[in-house]
């Protein structure tokens, strides 16, 4: 569904992405992990067309995304830190997004109901806590029933209850056969839903494997241990 082909990105002298190729297909739940500053967010942003790669191209359903924008109708994106116009209320933001996106037929307001934001609709974005802002971002990402969900650190800043609601939502969307791409530091949080892991380091993809494959190769039971094992292995070689 999404194909990243030989993408490199350079900011000044700093090379963030080094010739990355990645294929993500429908129905997968891909976790993208790696140390801070390894290029996860940059890679996500190239897929969204927010960062324009120095070299290479990205294809969405077989079509290049260069100078395209309509494909983003099929993507729901939840940024790491969502900031919104200070003077707008939650209700206005949601209404604005509905105005911008034309597909109103099958709105998915489940998260909105579960997060119980109904009473906060009149609150201005400026007055919201980080967690509530994250909730708004999550609601917006899921609202239009997109085929692809890109979630950048979705559970960071959410309280355990909200984080549980979100995880359930992600699982149920995954069951519908959507492609879900998540970046996260906290692996244990995701253990039960991800099907593939992309491990990034210094702008390279160290590996891109299915969970089962990874567990079998390393002989471990838990994903976090398997990754630690894998890293030790590669360092010794």
């Amino acid at each position: 569904m999404i194909e990243v082909k030989n993408v490199s990105k350079q900011f000044g002298k700093l090379q963030i992405l080094k010739d990355i190729s990645l294929t993500l297909s429908k129905g997968e739940c891909v976790a993208m992990i790696g140390p801070n500053g390894c290029g996860k967010t940059t890679l996500i942003k190239t897929i969204l067309g927010m960062v324009i790669p120095t070299k290479g191209d990205t294809f969405f359903e077989g079509k290049s995304i260069q100078n395209e924008y309509a494909y983003r109708n099929k993507i729901g994106y939840m940024p790491q830190i969502g900031r919104y116009p200070d003077n707008m209320t939650i209700g206005q933001i949601i209404q604005m997004m509905k105005d911008i996106r034309s597909d109103h037929d099958n709105l998915d307001e489940q998260l909105y109901i579960n997060f119980k934001l109904g009473g906060l609709l009149e609150k201005k974005m400026r007055t919201l806590s980080g967690g509530t802002t994250q909730k708004v971002s999550a609601i917006l990402a899921f609202l239009f029933n997109p085929d692809v969900l890109i979630l950048d650190e979705p559970t960071a800043g959410l309280d355990p209850v909200a984080s549980e609601i979100l995880k359930e939502k992600i699982s149920s969307e995954k069951a519908k056969g959507k492609l879900i791409l998540i970046t996260s530091h906290l692996l244990s949080e995701l253990d039960d839903m991800i099907t593939q892991i992309v491990f990034m380091q210094d702008g390279n993809i160290s590996f891109h494997k299915g969970i089962q494959e990874l567990l079998d190769e390393t002989g471990e039971q838990k994903i976090s241990k398997a990754i630690a094992h894998y890293l030790k292995q590669t360092q010794h070689v």
Binding site: Y69, R72, P79, P85, I100
Partner: protein, 255 residues
């Protein structure tokens, strides 16, 4: 197309700053017309006040607004929207909001106290100058990622156009006073939107007599319809060119 413009416009109109700016303009215009019994004098005093405040407010407010909206721009870029459309909407939203503030703050008093060709000319020029400096602000904010640098750049631009430019022109005039440079001065004045506006208004007030021989040459050029069209187009070019450069850069920008 108009959805985002509307959002930006409403967002700005809700901020207290625009209200304050409108009030400031209103108090300024109203008091100037009440101090002077002759409306032409009033226009002249108001002109000097306006040519300092409008550029300053337009460029500073727009630059800081654009920096503060960077996350909002990012949010919009994740949506199925064309990049250029987002940037154009911000330009339109800022221009509409500040133009509205100017029309209410200065436009109404001018129409009440000095309803004349010069009055209307002044309103048109006020609107143009507002847009010119918003356009420059858009360029400033796209040239650097750093908010402090961007705002610094916008202050420098304002200082240059409002104060330094005149100093340089004066210096050149004295240095080259032996040569017939009056005609060249017309071309030089087109390089500064503030000067251009000032000359346009002054020449409609018959104050050009104060400007000596250059004034006569200016009157010859700017006083005619074709001269006015040329100078108004120059102002329009100032309103569009910096914006187009910023648009081109925005389309390639990483966010």
């Amino acid at each position: 197309m108009f959805k985002i413009t509307k959002i930006v416009l409403l967002d700005i109109l809700k901020s207290k700053f625009v209200l304050f700016y409108t009030l400031l303009l209103f108090v300024m215009s109203w008091s100037v017309f009440n101090l002077e019994d002759n409306y032409a004098k009033g226009i002249l005093s108001l002109l000097n006040l306006i040519l300092l405040t409008i550029p300053l407010v337009s460029i500073m407010f727009s630059t800081s607004y654009l920096y503060n909206s960077s996350e909002f721009v990012e949010l919009l870029l994740g949506q199925p929207l064309k990049r250029s459309r987002i940037w154009i909407s911000f330009y339109a939203g800022l221009s509409l909001a500040l133009t509205l503030a100017f029309l209410v703050g200065t436009g109404i008093p001018v129409l009440i106290y000095a309803f004349s060709t010069v009055g209307i000319m002044m309103i048109v020029i006020g609107v143009l100058i507002t847009i010119v400096f918003i356009s420059l602000a858009m360029l400033c904010s796209i040239l650097t990622r750093d908010k402090a640098k961007g705002i610094g750049l916008s202050i420098v631009l304002w200082l240059f156009f409002a104060l330094l430019f005149d100093g340089i022109v004066l210096f050149l005039l004295f240095q080259l006073s032996d040569y017939p440079i009056e005609k060249m001065m017309i071309g030089v004045s087109a390089l500064n939107p503030i000067d251009l506006s000032r000359i346009l208004i002054l020449l409609h007030l018959d104050q050009s007599a104060l400007m000596g021989y250059s004034g006569a040459i200016f009157k010859d050029f700017f006083g005619t319809t074709s001269g006015m069209i040329v100078s108004l187009s120059a102002l329009c070019a100032w309103a569009i060119a910096p914006f187009l450069i910023s648009l081109k850069r925005f389309n390639k920008k990483d966010l």
